[in-house]
Symmetry: C2
Subunit: 112 residues, 2 copies
């Protein structure tokens, strides 16, 4: 059993074209011996956004704090604490912080 | 993309010997088309506890609210919001609410 606190996990800036003001923490992953899926936490500063992209694996998202929108090919949906999202493989998606506070969410992916 | 709120998901009592005061919500699972892993949220009332047991798949846990302890074969560890836990396949484990408020945590499992 591995037990730790979120604050003990380093925040890595995601510096890439198409991303603004995003930091990532790998809370549980291969380095911990997690065999099947990876728990990451993302922190998006006000005005920041994640990639608008698609890929061949799903996301399972749980919003912890802050507010913003989830963008898909079908439009935008407001998100706030305790919003949960399933983004299927192949679906374009983006998370945008339209709020005035940090947007924090868990985003889990399969260990592929 | 499926978007919903935690409060929209029914809470199912877990009524079984060895469990006290526990309710489960399947936030994202096979009914949503989640292919690889299942996101559940558990709510444990003060004085309540989950099974003390083991099984052949892992848990990835993230504590949302409340406080308590995680019990393993090696002892007890306090848990509180933003505690994260990896319980490996085969490890005995139990979550106990020693606090005065509801203990709420996410517990993800592979879709086996």
């Amino acid at each position: 059993m591995i037990i730790k606190k979120v604050e003990s996990v380093p925040k890595e800036p995601v510096d890439d074209a198409g991303v603004k003001g995003v930091k990532k923490q790998v809370l549980l992953g291969p380095a911990d011996g997690a065999p099947n899926f990876i728990m990451r936490q993302f922190t998006v500063e006000p005005g920041g956004y994640t990639f608008y992209h698609r890929h061949d694996y799903e996301h399972e998202i749980y919003v912890i704090a802050g507010s913003g929108i989830a963008r898909s090919a079908h439009g935008e949906t407001p998100i706030s604490p305790q919003t949960i999202i399933l983004i299927n493989a192949g679906e374009v998606h983006q998370i945008v912080n339209h709020g005035t506070e940090e947007l924090v969410f868990l985003c889990l992916i399969p260990n592929v």
